[in-house]
């Protein structure tokens, strides 16, 4: 077997990638880079093409067009080599529920081809990373949702991958567990592991990602550092105006007439880039612009 050193500044590169399912184009000419040692957030509403993108990166979906390269391997031809050095945390739990925590990790130590003497230490390390040492003998169907999620992450790390693909890693979890997982993911990033994380939680992307790509309808709408995207697309301040529907409509009309952009946020209208508006007639609560403002402005879609 030939062993070579792969030189790469880019852990993952996609160029013009398109995937169709019959008449539906799930991913449409996507360009995406994950520089080595960084965390890239793939942000988009449901149906934006995030999960299909993740599936293409593990060759569970084959692109119709475009080029995919993971850790220097061309996909789909060299997908197996790439997967040997990637860890995947799926959106939906696919653990072996009748096995214990330790058995689940040991199975994947085998599947990731760790040597006989490497498996034990690798399992111990993964248990420690996920803070599941005390639960090693617990069956998965007796774990809480948060523990199962931590185990999924531990399973993806058992072979010390160079790139980790996280598909909606905290979906459906309560805030405390989510923050616990964020700390875990942040720790990975600090160690230099490259991460591609799809999410539709804005806060998650803001906190963890070095750069964010916002997807909509299968395309990358914009890419950049979260704060730069906010500054470029939403300015620094937003005015939230609350009131009955008639008033909100009036605020929208006034803002648009003054060259400002607005978005509905449930019971209010957010007027974006208000710091540049002189003498805007309506009163409201000022707050800093956020990535969520950018997201909704660019995708035009509501998010969770």
């Amino acid at each position: 077997m030939l062993t070579v050193a792969v030189k790469a500044d880019i852990a993952l590169r996609m160029r013009g990638v398109t995937k169709r399912f019959g008449p539906i184009t799930a991913v449409n000419g996507l360009d995406l880079d994950v520089p080595a040692g960084t965390c890239v957030g793939l942000l988009g509403p449901n149906g934006a093409g995030k999960s299909t993108t993740m599936k293409m990166l593990t060759a569970q979906a084959i692109a119709d067009e475009g080029e995919l390269e993971v850790l220097g391997y061309r996909l789909p031809g060299e997908s197996k080599q790439a997967r040997a050095e990637c860890g995947v945390v799926p959106q939906l739990d696919n653990l072996d529920v009748t096995l214990t925590v330790e058995q689940n990790l040991r199975v994947f130590a085998w599947l990731y081809r760790l040597g006989r003497h490497e498996r034990g230490p690798a399992v111990e390390r993964a248990l420690e990373i996920a803070n599941l040492v005390h639960r090693r003998s617990t069956r998965v169907d007796e774990l809480s949702g948060g523990m199962r999620r931590r185990l999924l992450i531990a399973r993806a790390l058992v072979h010390r991958p160079r790139l980790v693909l996280l598909d909606e890693p905290t979906v459906g979890l309560d805030p405390q567990v989510r923050q616990e997982l964020w700390a875990l993911i942040d720790g990975l990033r600090s160690e230099g592991t490259s991460i591609l994380m799809s999410t539709h939680y804005i806060e998650e992307a803001e906190r963890l990602a070095d750069t964010v790509t916002i997807m909509s309808e299968g395309k990358a709408v914009v890419t950049g550092r979260p704060q730069e995207l906010v500054a470029e697309h939403a300015g620094s301040e937003v005015l939230e105006v609350y009131g009955p529907p008639d008033r909100l409509a009036e605020v929208e009309q006034t803002a648009v007439a003054g060259g400002l952009r607005t978005r509905r946020t449930g019971t209010s209208v957010a007027v974006v880039g208000i710091e540049d508006a002189n003498g805007f007639a309506h009163e409201g609560a000022r707050r800093p612009a956020t990535l969520e403002d950018v997201f909704v402005l660019l995708t035009g879609e509501d998010i969770e």
């Binding site: 077997m1 030939l2 062993t3 070579v4 050193a5 792969v6 030189k7 790469a8 500044d9 852990a11 399912f21 080595a36 599936k55 593990t58 060759a59 569970q60 979906a61 084959i62 850790l71 220097g72 197996k80 080599q81 997967r83 040997a84 050095e85 990637c86 995947v88 799926p90 939906l92 739990d93 696919n94 653990l95 072996d96 529920v97 009748t98 096995l99 058995q103 040991r106 199975v107 994947f108 085998w110 599947l111 990731y112 081809r113 399973r155 160079r162």
Partner: protein, 264 residues
């Protein structure tokens, strides 16, 4: 920047990938072996007792053998069939659709061909072992043990591999588990009719006897019977060839169907 040193080339049907999938099956088997063993051995044994002693009281000898011995050897084939085709169908469908186990495995350096091959190997291994249960019962009820019977687990393994492939193909093709009823009623059950399991096929119409040549269950029955009562080299070569052809055909078909199902 040098990211790392990596192994550049991975091939098809690699032993570590097969071993990984098999290891997962073995570990899981530790959690359900009692129920699986119970259903795979008790059911054919009940068939053996019911037919052997039920019909056996009416029919003493068939095809030159005691009826209980005739049925005992035939029941080995049904044990192999049941313990391979049903796990192939149901377990595969559940793992693929409900537990998403295959998504997890395919995220590791394992491809569909390795996954399906290892799954079928594991099922075949179990079928080879479970197939011996009715034989042991038949021996307990008077069938003379012979050294050639050592071939029975191998016959069960080869036949079981084919049936596992058939089951996996069904699981990969059907959209709902309810549709399995069509396969069980229209394909698997009629196979008994032309297999010579409970009665010799010589009593069937000529067209049915010809049809039996296409039935892998018939070839399994014949091989097991010859292992118990004496091999017939020429005929048995044909039976082995039929079973091996069935195994290879079902293996390739199941890999193809499952790849179509799992890789979008």
């Amino acid at each position: 920047m040098t990211v790392g040193t990596v192994t550049r080339r991975l091939h098809r049907l690699e032993r570590p990938a097969l071993a990984g999938v098999l290891y997962r099956e073995i570990v899981n088997f530790g959690t359900y072996w009692r129920s699986a063993t119970f259903s795979s051995t008790v059911e054919p044994t009940i068939y053996l007792l019911a037919f052997g002693f039920g019909f056996g009281s009416l029919v003493s000898r068939v095809g030159g053998y005691d009826y209980v011995e005739f049925v005992g050897t035939g029941t080995v084939a049904t044990a192999v069939l049941f313990s391979s085709v049903f796990p192939g169908m149901f377990s595969t469908f559940v793992k693929h659709r409900f537990q998403r186990t295959y998504d997890a495995i395919l995220a590791a350096p394992v491809d569909t061909e390795e996954l399906v091959t290892a799954e079928a190997l594991w099922i075949a291994l179990r079928a080879g072992v479970y197939g011996c249960a009715p034989l042991l019962v038949a021996i307990a009820f008077g069938l003379d043990p012979r050294p050639q019977m050592i071939a029975v687990p191998f016959i069960g393994f080869v036949a079981g591999y084919g049936w596992a492939g058939f089951g996996i193909t069904v699981a990969a093709t059907m959209k709902s588990i309810d549709n399995f009823s069509y396969v069980i009623s229209a394909v698997i059950t009629p196979l008994f009719l032309v297999a010579g399991t409970f009665f010799p096929i010589t009593g069937l119409p000529e067209w049915a006897q010809h049809l039996a040549q296409l039935n892998p269950l018939y070839h399994t029955v014949q091989l097991v019977r010859h292992a118990a009562f004496g091999f017939e080299v020429g005929a048995d070569l044909v039976h082995w060839a039929a079973l091996l052809t069935f195994g290879v055909a079902m293996w390739r078909l199941s890999v193809w169907r499952m790849t179509r199902r799992l890789v979008l």
